[in-house]
């Protein structure tokens, strides 16, 4: 039975992905970049759409939701996965609406009045069967994949608008997006980059090596020197793990220090974040917000006796409040933190926010 075989293959793929997520990140953050995670999630969801048994959009959404819940539960700190699930759900809604012939616009522009009177789009509405829905949804997911492929380039393209000659730029840790951004700017302009090393994982070292390889003048500083050096810095450009719904960041440890120092010296703080990092999460969800990894990097296991006398923690993320951020640069352009709510409603359907 080829159908059953396919399904087994699908579940196996999903299990493998889940296991990977669970084991992902032995300290230095995920093994792969979040861009890759996003692509993989989307590709997997496309496979689900193509291979699972469903007859109407409602069924499909239910399946995607179920898988999505498991995927997000596997590694709560990896919000990209959840974001992609929401994006796919939104795609299904749109395609369904288009198949029914109603305009997508009506769906999006929800006034308070509408919310109150309509009682929400009941699931009943998704029961209708359309022949082309599957093909359309898959087509739309493919478009999403193409968009994901291009995000880093899209962001890097904007570099020249933000980085000027002979500027001193500070960054913290390692972000693939920021790296591409700076490299792109370096093709035309000369500037100096200061990288905070970001202890205890010291991803900053790798970042600095990569930058200096392309001929950018690079200095690595200890995290403690961030404030002291800030007065010389013209701009702070950082990456992030997640952009939260309030416009704040969940970024690698040490980012908050940088942001506060930048605020003190009135240095602009620019965040390079592709749209897939935008999460409907708010920073008060304590359970999933933090990620504590093995304290090995802080106090090595080899230390011996002292370990039984002290508690060692090794948190990975910082929360940076939106007030400290000047500008977000995403693949669709620059936005202020206060505008995030709007992007949020464009990207995700409000009913999907909690899976």
């Amino acid at each position: 039975m080829p159908g059953a075989d396919k399904e087994a293959d699908l579940t196996e793929r999903i299990e493998a992905f889940l296991a990977d997520l669970k084991r992902g990140g032995c300290g230095t953050g995920p093994i792969r970049g979040s861009g890759e995670t996003a692509r993989e999630t989307t590709a997997l969801l496309r496979k689900v759409t193509a291979q699972a048994r469903w007859s109407s959009a409602g069924d499909l959404m239910e399946i995607i939701r179920k898988e999505g819940r498991r995927m997000t539960a596997a590694q709560p700190s990896e919000t990209t996965v959840g974001n992609m699930v929401l994006r796919v759900l939104k795609i299904i809604r749109e395609e369904y609406a288009r198949s029914r012939g109603s305009s997508e616009e009506t769906d999006q522009q929800e006034s308070l009045h509408k919310l109150l009177t309509s009682g929400g789009l009941s699931e009943e509405n998704f029961r209708q069967h359309f022949v082309h829905l599957k093909a359309n949804v898959i087509e739309a997911i493919n478009e999403l994949l193409t968009e994901l492929d291009g995000t880093t380039d899209n962001i890097a393209m904007q570099a020249l608008e933000h980085i000027h000659s002979n500027e001193v730029i500070m960054t913290v840790g390692r972000s693939r997006t920021v790296e591409a951004f700076l490299k792109d700017a370096a093709r035309k302009r000369k500037f100096h980059v200061i990288v905070a090393e970001c202890a205890p994982f010291c991803q900053g070292h790798e970042m600095a090596t990569n930058l200096s390889k392309t001929g950018i003048e690079t200095t690595v500083i200890a995290d403690a020197a961030i404030f002291a050096v800030m007065s010389r810095v013209n701009k702070v450009i950082i990456g992030t793990q997640t952009v939260l719904a309030n416009g704040g960041l969940r970024a690698v440890n040490g980012t908050h220090t940088v942001a506060l120092a930048a605020r003190h010296h009135s240095t602009p703080l620019i965040v390079c974040a592709p749209m897939f990092k935008l999460s409907p999460q708010f920073p008060n969800e304590e359970d999933t917000f933090h990620k504590f990894v093995s304290p090995h990097e802080v106090l090595p296991f080899t230390e011996g006796e002292i370990l039984s006398k002290v508690n060692v923690h090794c948190p990975v993320f910082d929360y940076v409040p939106p007030e400290l951020i000047t500008l977000f640069i995403s693949n669709i352009g620059g936005n202020a933190p206060s505008y995030i709510y709007r992007l949020m409603s464009e990207l995700y359907h409000p009913e999907d926010h909690d899976l």
């Binding site: 087994a8 990140g25 359970d287 093995s294 304290p295 230390e303 006796e305 923690h313």
Partner: protein, 702 residues
């Protein structure tokens, strides 16, 4: 199913290996073959005991799966059905699992050796495999070690048979199991193990000289290693176990390989890692430290909230100070979870409790004003109000009534009831099984968890519970009546490991460094065998004394040892004499007075005289024996006065003949010291007496 191997492979493992097509296999031994966890493991096999509310075997399987193992053979013996049921229900046996688990059960396994012999007999492994116990908790990425292992095997064909994974951790680390403390000499460059010795209880360490004379100019003697009990083995390991039917454990194997290195040409290597975590839960002390390491996230990503076993409802949340809460946990007013606390689902906790460094299972009820510190409570435990528990294990279904205090290192086994108003002294073990059932089973010499359960059942004559021990409403038998009962003391030590005496370790360590420094001392290489032989003889005699073995059997044993270590008859005698004469020092310390020494030695000589007589027959033997005596007393010069008494006794027991003594006395002196010795007054008198006696006897003869 193993055919779908390739998909799961980890990038770095797969580099340029042509054998890579073969799936990586693992052998998981889900039996400890000892009774460390005893009254607890009577009801539940060790591999299924919960650690952080997850069965230990799940950690091991997760570890194997995450390193890319695609086929695991789980060998169970004791309570194999329970393990089987558990595995069949778990995610490892789902069809989608990347790691195919085969369960092999047999009641005949008595040791690791038996399991590996079975592996060989059934021809299960085709390639290098990972060998672990079912109670190993680890997140070490062994792919690096695996790669090194494969590389070595490729470079020099099949010489390296095993790579042991060790974690660096300095002495005094709480996660070091003192029973497993090892000292390892290894070649720094090739990472080859030259010498491997357990240090537990040893005050002195001895290294064979030849390891220092080996070709390599750099080597390390290390005592900062924690044995993770993870080994990467070649298929030959199983064959070697078959060939050497006396190998029981891995250390037997390692010793065997090292001793026979020249003959068989096999080598063992070491992989020392600094990252990751790996430890074996070999006793309750280790259970305590591994649990707390896990709650403190050392084993990340195997953390409680990760729910890696993928079971419904097992998830929990992690918040500050490493507090983990399962679903539906209720916490009374004023209760504090201070730090490093894991609480399973559906557990309710009363008011004003203070909980720190503890793990509480599912469905537990805890009353008001309870203090828990380093308490490990499994599922369905009921704790009443005003209870205090410190560093103890409370198993499934146990009930602790009002105002009970459990002091350190108590164990309440399954379904025990304690209290009310009682304080259990330190190290109390309470079980529903009567200790006497246990004693009757003691004839099982293999010390396996494997027990005849059936025959304990027919002894249904319930003995009354002692209310003084377990409280007025208590149910259960104390397993450790008093401290003076040596056997029970041993039991407690077994459960909690040897934590109480950290001193010997530091001693042996300094010894070790000392030894390693003066390795330039010129000692002939065979000294190793002689020393080993001496130790063995000592052990044999000791056992003979303890178990009242007939001297004929001792002789037999010493003879077989003689062949095993290739010792000449002359050496046997010298060593035997030496061992016997040193025996009182060995047993009672070196600070004995001469009087005490002779007092304890003379009866020994009498007991063992048949052994001596067996070896001392020719006149030359007598002289050799005497020179050994002389040598010893030259070393122990404070006890020289005892020498006469010894010689006298040996003469009386007809071990030594007078001619031999006289001859030795007149001719044996070779240097100043021995001449000095002969001037000893007592000795002179003795000789004189002997001479007279001889005269008399010769006169009589005429």
């Amino acid at each position: 199913m193993s055919s779908r191997g390739g998909k799961q492979k980890k990038g770095n493992v797969t580099s340029e290996q042509e054998e890579e097509e073969q799936p990586l296999q693992a052998v998981l031994v889900a039996d400890s073959f000892n009774r460390r966890f005893f009254p607890i493991s009577k009801d539940q096999p060790r591999a299924l005991l919960p650690l952080g509310n997850v069965a230990m075997i799940d950690y091991t399987l997760e570890f194997l799966t995450s390193t890319g193992v695609q086929e695991t053979f789980v060998f169970c013996c004791w309570m194999s059905n329970k393990i089987k049921d558990h595995l069949l229900k778990s995610k490892w046996c789902r069809p989608t699992s990347p790691n195919v688990v085969h369960i092999i059960t047999s009641d005949l396994y008595r040791s690791l050796g038996d399991v590996l012999r079975d592996v060989d007999a059934k021809n299960l492994v085709r390639n290098d495999f990972i060998l672990v116990y079912g109670d190993v908790v680890s997140n070490i990425d062994v792919s690096q070690a695996l790669q090194e292992h494969r590389h070595r095997r490729k470079v020099d064909k099949n010489i390296s048979v095993m790579t042991m994974v060790f974690k660096e951790s300095s002495p005094g680390h709480k996660s070091r199991c003192e029973e497993d403390d090892v000292i390892v000499a290894m070649d720094s460059k090739s990472k080859r193990v030259l010498h491997y010795q357990k240090t537990q209880g040893l005050k002195k360490l001895q290294f064979p000289m030849n390891i220092f004379q080996h070709g390599s100019d750099e080597f390390e003697v290390r005592h900062d290693l924690l044995d993770c009990h993870i080994s990467i083995c070649s298929p030959q390991v199983a064959e070697l176990f078959t060939d050497n039917f006396d190998y029981q454990t891995r250390s037997d194997f390692v010793r065997g390989i090292l001793v026979n290195e020249e003959i068989l040409g096999n080598q063992i290597h070491l992989y020392v890692t600094q990252d990751g975590y790996g430890a074996r839960v070999s006793n309750l002390q280790m259970y305590d430290s591994v649990s707390s390491d896990m709650v403190r996230r050392w084993v990340y990503p195997l953390t409680p909230e990760a729910n890696f076993t993928d079971q419904q409802g097992q998830g929990c949340t992690h918040s500050r100070h490493n507090v983990y809460r399962g679903a539906e946990v209720s916490l009374g007013q004023g209760s504090q979870m201070e730090e490093n606390v894991l609480i399973g689902r559906d557990t309710s906790i009363g008011a004003n409790c203070r909980i720190s460094n503890s793990v509480i299972g599912n469905n537990c009820t805890i009353g008001d004003n309870v203090v828990l510190d380093r308490a490990y409570m499994w599922n369905n435990v009921h704790i009443s109000s005003n209870v205090e528990i410190h560093q103890s294990v409370v198993c499934d279904g146990a009930v602790v009534k009002e105002a009970v205090r459990l002091n350190k290192q108590c164990v309440l086994a399954y379904n025990v009831v304690i209290g009310p108003n009682l304080s259990l002294p330190e190290g109390t073990v309470v079980s529903m099984h009567h200790p006497e059932e246990e004693e009757e089973d003691d004839d099982d010499e293999f010390l396996s968890d494997d027990q005849e359960v059936g025959h304990s059942k027919d002894k249904t004559r319930q003995k009354a519970f002692n209310p003084a021990e377990v409280g007025p409403e208590g149910k259960g038998y104390i397993w450790k009546a008093s401290m003076d009962d040596t056997e029970d003391e041993e039991l407690a030590q077994c459960l909690w490991g040897l934590v109480l005496n950290p001193d010997p370790e530091s001693d042996s360590e300094s010894e070790a460094s000392e030894e390693s420094q003066d390795h330039s001392r010129s000692v002939s290489p065979e000294i190793d065998d002689v020393n080993a032989f001496q130790l063995e003889v000592l052990g044999t005699l000791q056992r003979g004394l303890e178990e009242n073995i007939v001297c004929d059997n001792l002789v037999l044993e010493i003879n077989s040892l003689k062949y095993a270590y290739n010792i000449t008859l002359k050496e046997v005698m010298q060593i035997l004499t030496r061992v016997v004469l040193e025996y009182p020092f060995q047993q009672q310390g070196t600070q004995l007075t001469t009087l005490q020494y002779t007092g304890s030695l003379l009866p020994l000589l009498k007991t063992w005289s048949p052994v001596f007589k067996n070896y001392i027959k020719r006149p030359q033997d007598h002289l050799d024996c005497l020179s050994a005596v002389e040598e010893l007393f030259l070393e122990q010069d404070t006890h020289q006065t005892a020498m006469v008494k010894v010689l006298m006794k040996m003469y009386q027991l007809e071990i030594l003949e007078e001619e031999a003594i006289l001859k030795w006395f007149s001719t044996g002196a070779t240097n100043d010291k021995s001449r000095q010795l002969r001037k000893n007054q007592g000795l002179q008198k003795f000789i004189k007496w002997l001479e007279e006696a001889e005269d008399e006897s010769s006169e009589e003869g005429e």
